[in-house]
Every structure is written in C-alpha cells, then in structure tokens.
C-alpha cells in the first residue's frame, strides 16, 4: 500500500522563523535542526562544518560567512573557481547566488550544484550562518 506521507516541509517558513528569532524556541530549534539535516544531506559528501575539521572533497565551511572566497589555506580550488571568485567575500547574497547555480557563478568550478527552491537555499544559508 502507498503510505500517506506528511506534507512537504516548508523550508522557507522554517528559515524565516529561525532568522527572525520569533516563534516558540522549540520550533526554531527544530527548524535549525531541519536546516542542518538538509545541509548534511546536500553538502557533507564534500564539506565539513565543525571548527577545526579538515577539508574534504570541498573546503571546510566553518566560518564561511565573512570569509574571503578562494582563499582558505590547504584546499586546492580549481582555476575556474579562483578566477571567478577571488577577492569576493562570502555573504548571504553571494551564497544565495552561488547555491542557485554554482556553474553560472563560476564556470569550471568543481562543485556541481543548483537549487531552484528558494526555501531550501534560505535554509542552507541559515545553517551555514550558524557555523561560527
């Protein structure tokens, strides 16, 4: 039998609630938890999130927001990525553009990812913001 699945999780609303800090604390914590699960599912094949954790297939994302792109030591960025990103600083807007379509922002990047769902992007960004 086809089991009934619950309604699709509203990532956008969850992220908004996280970001605005309103709503019940338990709900907000749940939503950040959901965002973390999404990030783990989408990102942890290549990236680590914790302080002091090593690079993987991709660079560590701890402290990403506010960091200069293509500059973290110990990771070998592709030439295409470096030429597109050098000098930029990671902020929410850049991250949103990046997650929308990495190959459009930096042709030749090794990271193949595009996310059309704005709610999911927002959730991922909120989680990454929390890594500091």
């Amino acid at each position: 039998m086809i089991s009934k699945m619950r309604k699709s999780f509203n990532y956008a609303a969850a992220a908004l609630i996280c970001g605005m800090g309103i709503g019940e604390p338990a709900r907000a914590a749940d939503d950040l938890a959901a965002a973390r699960e999404l990030a783990i599912s989408h990102c942890s094949q290549c990236h680590t999130f914790g302080k002091g954790e090593p690079h993987g297939q991709g660079p560590s994302l701890f402290g990403l927001i506010g960091r200069e792109a293509a500059a973290i030591p110990g990771y070998q960025f592709s030439p295409g990525y470096v030429s597109a990103m050098k000098g930029q600083v990671w902020d929410v807007a850049l991250l949103d553009r990046w997650l929308t379509d990495t190959l459009a922002v930096a042709p030749g990047t090794q990271m193949v990812y595009w996310q059309e769902d704005a709610g999911k992007r927002t959730a991922l960004i909120r989680y990454l913001e929390s890594l500091r």
Binding site: S3, S41, Q45, Q57, G74, V112
Partner: protein
C-alpha cells in the same frame, strides 16, 4: 521532525534518518517494492508528472542514460536520491575503458573483438576459460553482455563527446591491468574527461559537470532529493511509473510512458545486504553514501534474478576513514611510497603492496582455518621520512599525505618501538570492529626482520617474496617517488634505519558492489523466465555485471556502463506507450 541519533560522526545522522525507511527487514519490505494497479485504478491514478523515460539515479550510469534517451527525442526525468548529482562517479578518477575506441583506431592502435572477448573471459570465467571454445568458456549471458560492451562502448562514448556532454582525451599509453596476458588491444583503451588534471585523478568532477550541464542545456528534468521507492505497474505487469519519497516529506508519483531505467548503484552502504551477499566482511567503501541497494529491494517483488551479488569492484581503504564513515573516503588506487611495506599483526609482509588495487583488496579477506580468523583483515602500511617527504599526495586515496592535509589516519613514531605502540593503541581503539586484533608480542622483532629482508630486495631491485613491481600496472600506479638514478625497480627502496616512522591501518573496501537483477544485453531487467519485465531497465552497479570478480582495466567500471546506458536508452526509446 524525525527523531535523531546524537553524537554520530558527521554525515551519519542525516543519512540514517533520511534513509530510515531504507533500512532492513520488515520496515524495508513495507516501504520499498512495487504497486500494481488494476485497469480501473490505472485509469484513475493521479500522477504528479508524466514523462517518456524516467531515470532513477543521477550518477555515472544515470546521466548518460538520461542524455541518450533525451537525444532520441524523449521527455526525460532524472530522479536523484541525494542532494547532488554524480553519485559514486563524482569522487572517481573517471577513467573509462572503451575497447576499439575511435581515438585508438585513429592512432593505428589495433584492437580485436576476439582478443577482447578472450581477455575478459580469461579474467571473469577463469575456471572455464578456453581460448578455443566458441564463447571462450563464458556462458551465454556473460558472452552476450561482453559482446555488447565491444559493440556499443565506443558508439556511446563518441556520441557523448560529439554532443559536448563528455569530451575526452585519449590516454594512449595506459595498459590494461593484465597487460601481461598479451592480448591485442591491451594498450589504448582508456579515455579520460578532457579537462581533467594531468594526473587524471579528478575526472569525476569534470564529468559530472559536463554531463549535468548537457542535461540542463538539452532539457532533461532533474529532481534531487527524490528517493525512488516503488515501481508502479499496470494490471498486465508492465512498469508504468515510479513513486518517490521527497526530501522533507511528501511523495512524488510519476508516470513513465515508455520505460523506467534504474541506475541507482550498488549496496556498499547497506550492512545487511553486504553481510548476506558478499562473502567477505568489508567495512564499506567509497561508493556514494546513498548507495544502499535500493534497486535490490524495489525489484525483488517483481520476480527478478539476482546475480553476481557476491562480487564488488574493490580496493584497499583506510580503516580509520571506513569506520568513521568519512564521506571523503577514497579507495586506495595507488599505494604510495617506495621505502614502504605492509605488514600483518605479526609484523610480517604477506603481499605485494603494489599489486593492482582490486587484487590487493582480496588479501585482507583470506580466511585462516587453523587460527579461525581473518588474519589479514587489517594490514599496516609502514613508511619512513624519505617516503613521507617524496611520495606524499592528496590523490588516489594515498595514505601518505602532504603536511596540512587530513592526516588523522597516520600514526607516527620516533622509533619502530614507538610506532608499534601507536599501532597497537590504534587497534585497541577499533577493537569492536576488528575482532579485537592486536599486534603480536614479537611484532617489533618481526618488523625489523621484515624490513631487513625487504631492504635486500629493494637494493637488488627484485622482490623475491611477492614480485613487487613486476607488472606494468604496478608501475602505472606507483605514484611519486624520490628520483634515484640507476635504480632498476622504482616501486622499492630500502626503508631507513632512522626514524621518524609512519604507519596507517588498512583494510579492504568496495568502490561499489556489482550485483543485482539480471538484465539482457539491452539493459532490460529479466524475470525468472528470462523474459524482460516490460518497461523496466537497469544500468550500472544496480544490476548484475558480467565481469564476475574481475576488474579488467582502469575504467572497466564506467566504460561498460556507457555501453549499456546507450543500449538501454535505445531499447527504451522503442518501447510502445503503455496504458
């Protein structure tokens, strides 16, 4: 929200949860499988979307299958379980082995269908191999599958290149792994993504980029975070769609007018399937974390024939990374260092450390009936400062890594005694995983004797115990070593008599398993009567490979996959639209 296990190594929490329904036993039976609709139900069935061809899986088999299908004019959807595309192939070097490829023909490098078939037969059916028999000792099915690779790998490859989906460069000098068998075509079959690095280790990233870009350019719909759980059939038993669980909740039911092509990979990351189908206790491997044998579960109620479930593409792996389920785990395609040996828990060499990775991996699983154990389940790689300085690499899963990279797997000691203590401590940490293995009381004495004996061989350039460096493939994968003018065997150099020394624990793992439902040479999944299940196809590691235990050459995973993706797409394209 789902309950979560706490304090697990990264990656595990989400996957355990996200894939909870993909677990074992009864829960799986309830969630995976098939739905059969009566005619009335089929009429009334609401689908969320409709396509000509649905491809389940967006990795090394799925993306080519989708593109070939699309280029034949079909409306195509790719459903990918993970959040990103590429699957196992993303991390891979992505060499692809294409017999009789256009580049080798252009370069005047001879290939031969009969020699190709003899070569694969010799390796995949060694006990029945007969160069004079009509099918060289392979059975009907094996022969037809291998013939299909010969027929279609080049054609599929050329089309992918022509369309800009997978431009390649020809790596002409690369030999087949068993070059020494002396068959025609034993050099020149390997192709590599054109923009990959000179060391050819990053092809998977390049290929995933170019293949997905072609999908987007040419109008293949792609949905990530969609885990196919069931096929939907009409009352004639024909496959007419699939149902997927959507990331974050909800279901997605989609109609396939012509066919569903499964390309969901093997079962490396399902401990239950591993335990019950592989006869060896592998710890895991570098397959995509989402490769949990979903197609085994989905297809079983359809009355398929599971074949080759006992074999996998194999390689040594770091024990630490395997136990940690580290997603960056790469197979050890190349064992780094020349002043380096592997020893067992007694401190003795037991194997040629530079043996081709799939073959080397078998050593870990030799059973000893006298001591009733797997005595080599863990081997210890030992190297000196010289190899540390000259053979460090972040590629090909090498254990010797440059300063500043993740070296948590590395044990250090100023002396061999100190190193041994570190090795023992590390084994104790993993006691529950390795049956309590510890170094023997005479480990250090044996190790010193092993090093002395190895050093003699290294000076002479000939490994009298295990033949290290005797084969072309071992030279190919030697990795960087210190320049030593005049040395005869670049795979060996005496280990220094001064520390510091380094060590790392190794075991065997799978790139992925290669067993599953039996298909015909067009990728059609067969029922127990050997008849195609209408509308159902399988390509890649989710279905049975005709290679048996054999790893024919670098790229003998992906080259044949391209052949079958091409054939499956062409056959699926010809399917009638079903009600």
């Amino acid at each position: 929200m789902n309950k979560r296990e706490s304090s697990k190594p990264r990656g595990v929490t989400s996957r355990r949860n996200f894939l909870k329904a993909a677990g074992t036993g009864a829960a799986a039976a309830a969630t995976f499988g098939t739905v059969t609709l009566s005619a009335k139900e089929a009429q009334a069935q609401t689908f969320d979307a409709e396509y000509d061809i649905i491809v389940c899986g967006g990795g090394g088999a799925g993306l080519p299958s989708a593109l070939f299908s699309r280029w034949l004019g079909n409306k195509v959807l790719v459903l990918e379980k993970a959040g990103t595309l590429g699957g196992t192939s993303f991390k891979a070097a992505y060499w692809y082995w294409v017999p009789n490829n256009a580049a080798m023909r252009k370069a005047g490098m001879e290939d031969s269908k009969t020699d190709f078939l003899k070569y694969v037969a010799r390796l995949s059916a060694p006990q029945t191999f007969d160069a004079n028999a009509p099918k060289y000792g392979m059975n009907e099915w094996e022969y037809s599958m291998c013939e299909a690779i010969w027929e279609s790998a080049s054609e599929g490859t050329e089309l992918l290149a022509e369309k800009g989906a997978l431009p390649y460069r020809h790596v002409a000098p690369v030999p087949d792994y068993f070059y020494e068998l002396g068959y025609k075509g034993n050099t020149g079959r390997v192709l590599f993504p054109k923009d990959g690095s000179p060391s050819m280790s990053d092809g998977g990233r390049v290929a995933t980029r170019t293949l997905s870009a072609a999908c987007r350019r040419d109008g293949v719909d792609v949905k990530t975070g969609h885990r196919v759980q069931r096929v939907i059939r009409n009352d004639k038993g024909e496959v007419i769609g699939v149902e997927a669980a959507v990331e974050g909740g909800g279901a997605f039911r989609v109609r396939a007018r012509k066919a569903v092509i499964f390309a969901t990979g093997g079962f490396t990351h399902d401990p239950e399937l591993r335990k019950n189908f592989l006869s060896i206790p592998v710890y895991g491997g570098c397959a995509a974390m989402t490769n949990e044998g979903d197609f085994v579960r989905i297809s079983s109620p359809l009355g398929v024939q599971l074949r080759n479930m006992n074999y996998a593409w194999m390689c040594p792996i770091s024990l630490d990374k395997a136990i940690a389920r580290d997603p960056s785990l790469s197979g050890m395609f190349s064992v780094a260092g020349d002043s380096m040996i592997f020893v067992d828990k007694r401190g003795k060499r037991v194997v040629n450390e530079k043996l081709n990775y799939n073959e080397l991996a078998q050593k870990f699983f030799e059973w000893d009936g006298a001591s009733v154990e797997f005595p080599y389940l863990v081997l210890v790689s030992i190297w000196d400062q010289r190899s540390q300085d000259h053979s460090a690499s972040h590629e090909y899963g090498r254990l010797i890594v440059p300063p500043g990279t993740d070296d948590r797997h590395v044990i250090k000691g100023r002396t061999l005694e100190e190193l041994a203590a570190g090795i023992d401590a590390r084994m104790q940490r993993y006691a529950n995983y390795i049956g309590g293995m510890r170094i023997s009381a005479d480990f250090v004495a044996n190790l010193k004797a092993s090093i002395a004996r190895f050093n003699e061989f290294a000076r002479a350039g000939k490994d009298l115990d295990f033949g290290r460096g005797d084969r072309a493939v071992e030279q190919l994968f030697n990795g960087a070593v210190k320049e030593e003018p005049g040395r005869k065997n670049p795979t060996m150099w005496p280990i220094g008599d001064q520390g510091p020394y380094y060590a790392a624990l190794c075991t065997g793992g799978t790139l992925d398993t290669k067993g599953g439902p039996k298909t015909n040479a067009n990728g059609q999944v067969l029922d127990v009567g050997d008849k195609p299940i209408p509308g159902l196809y399988g390509v890649g590691n989710c279905v049975a490979s005709a290679s048996g235990r054999a790893y024919w050459a670098g790229g003998a995973t992906l080259g044949p996959i391209i052949a079958f993706a091409y054939r499956a797409a062409n056959a699926a394209n010809k399917e009638p639209v079903r009600s």
